[in-house]
């Protein structure tokens, strides 16, 4: 058995919505069922289940336990949870599959950003001595990063707006997207700043949503799926927490994760990047050295839909979708956690 014979064979996601009516588990029940149905797998056959979510978002201690009901935890199942984006749940399942005693796994990620104020909530993930008491919110931090890029001459506000225009246009073809449409760069640049130099279009929407992915190994993957999306490599790397101790214009952990995931700089048909703020797309393109002609964020990316805790796993599902249906042969998915691209995961997938 090789680490490279694990594949995505099923997936499903909810539409991203500004305010979903159901709670997380109610979003997950039909989503998990749809992913298993696509994989042709009964839930009782799943060897391992792993979920990603955030109790701070849900607003209750141990809220993640309830989410497990979407997987059907009776009779008892073997499962785990990460207080991280679902992409890291997939990583854990990928490791677990390599034990060799099971050949299928179910992963999901879910989050509702609508109940709480993200600007009040997210400072709580920062260092509690020097950063959290400042109440510095994700948009302010992203503005610092954008300012660094502009000062270095690496990007302009126009570049940021162009990312948003491409994202919204791409999202026209994505039924799960929340922000889509034709936009004009000049018109966007005429809008006021939310946090100088960021405008509203540089920010992701506030989204509720969930995603589920089914993995299988070797012969089982081939038996269940005509064209599995084989995970050729997956790796994640983290950087120092303090934004002041990093060069915010680059993402060396993304570069390293891509290298360790086996990405050799060769051609990619598709790349889905967790560029949650528009300036981050350029940083990630450089960190990954994406070849010209790579279709980046054909789903619209996080600027079109940002169900936090699912956003990264959605990237993997979007790349897998294009490989499974034959539109792409080779693709790369990127997920991020923490603030300002602190923690990055790269998953390289191929159709053969």
């Amino acid at each position: 058995m090789a680490a490279t014979d694990i594949a995505v064979i099923g997936f499903a996601q909810t539409p991203a919505e500004r305010r979903a009516e159901g709670n997380e588990v109610q979003l997950l029940v039909p989503t998990v069922s749809a992913a298993l149905a696509m994989a042709g797998l009964d839930r009782r056959e799943v060897g391992f289940t792993c979920a990603g979510s955030c109790d701070y978002l849900t607003g209750g201690p141990f809220a993640f336990v309830q989410n497990l009901e979407a997987a059907g935890a009776w009779p008892p199942i073997e499962e785990s949870h990460v207080e991280m984006d679902g992409a890291w749940a997939l990583y854990e399942a990928w490791v677990r599959l390599q034990h060799g005693d099971i050949d299928t796994a179910l992963v999901f990620g879910s989050g509702k950003s609508s109940p709480a104020d993200p600007a009040a909530l997210w400072p709580q993930q920062l260092d509690p001595y020097t950063l959290a008491p400042l109440g510095v919110d994700p948009v302010s931090l992203a503005a610092l990063q954008a300012r660094s890029l502009i000062h270095r001459g690496l990007a302009t506000e126009r570049d940021f707006a162009e990312v948003a225009v491409r994202s919204r246009r791409a999202a026209l073809a994505n039924p799960h997207a929340q922000v889509r449409g034709e936009a004009d760069v000049e018109a966007l640049l005429a809008e006021p700043y939310v946090r100088d130099p960021l405008r509203r279009h540089d920010l992701p929407p506030i989204s509720d949503g969930a995603v589920a992915v089914v993995l299988a190994r070797g012969d089982r993957a081939q038996a269940l799926c005509a064209r599995p999306a084989w995970i050729r490599g997956i790796d994640h790397r983290i950087e120092v927490h303090q934004p002041g101790m990093r060069d915010l214009t680059e993402s060396p952990s993304t570069t390293l994760a891509a290298e360790r995931a086996g990405y050799d700089g060769g051609p990619l048909d598709v790349a889905e990047l967790s560029a949650v703020f528009s300036p981050q797309e350029g940083i990630l393109r450089r960190a990954l050295a994406l070849p010209e002609g790579t279709d980046a964020n054909p789903s619209g990316g996080p600027l079109a839909a940002n169900p936090v805790m699912a956003t990264g796993l959605v990237r993997i599902a979007e790349v897998a979708a294009r490989i499974i249906d034959g539109r792409a042969d080779r693709g790369l998915a990127h997920a991020t956690g923490g603030q300002l691209l602190q923690h990055n995961l790269v998953c390289l997938m191929e159709g053969r």
Partner: protein, 180 residues
């Protein structure tokens, strides 16, 4: 380095986060029922178990349930388990005297209502198997307070407590599957 004795730096960091969301349609209907003195749930179309309040799915079958699966259950039931809590003072604890925290399985339901007070009987006589009925608040005093999408709702804003019906105790086999 200074020779001054080292002192720990202590800082207060009080966090307050506010969450707001509308009640889901299922819980909204559940609350409407409580206002009218009715207790509503959903019956799983696959295993026929009844959940009160409804979740919108059966966690055992992982089958979705809808208003079409709605059922009304009785306001009488059986105590399946309990504890007597002797409160100690901590932030947020409003009780000062020992109180009962019981699970009540309503007749017609397969899901316990947790954390129910039992009144009209000395604490040392509360027992599993005890038959009880709801002590409803007057309609004008009922509210949706404390019912949230996270906790799956409760009945505390409409039913103050449960009290013995003075029927014979239910035999253990009647509630053995529902101990909690």
């Amino acid at each position: 380095m200074s020779d001054a004795p080292k002192q720990d730096l202590v800082m207060a960091h009080l966090v307050s986060l506010r969450y707001e969301e509308p009640l889901s349609r299922i819980l909204d209907r559940f609350v409407d029922g409580l206002m009218e003195g009715r207790i509503l749930g959903h019956r799983c179309p696959a295993c026929r178990r009844v959940y009160v309040p409804a979740k919108g799915y059966c966690p055992l079958c992982v089958v979705e349930t809808t208003e079409a699966d709605e059922v009304e259950v009785a306001d009488t039931g059986v105590v399946t388990g309990f504890t007597i809590i002797t409160p100690v003072a901590y932030y947020g604890q409003e009780e000062t005297e020992p109180f009962v925290y019981a699970s009540v399985l309503l007749d017609g339901s397969d899901a316990n209502l947790g954390g129910q007070d039992i009144v009209g009987i000395p604490h040392d006589q509360v027992r599993a198997g005890l038959r009880v009925r709801a002590v409803w608040r007057p309609p004008a005093e009922r509210s949706a307070e404390g019912i949230t999408n996270r906790g799956w709702g409760s009945v505390g804003s409409a039913i103050d407590a449960f009290t013995p019906t003075d029927e014979p105790d239910a035999p253990p086999e009647q509630y053995a599957e529902h101990l909690f």
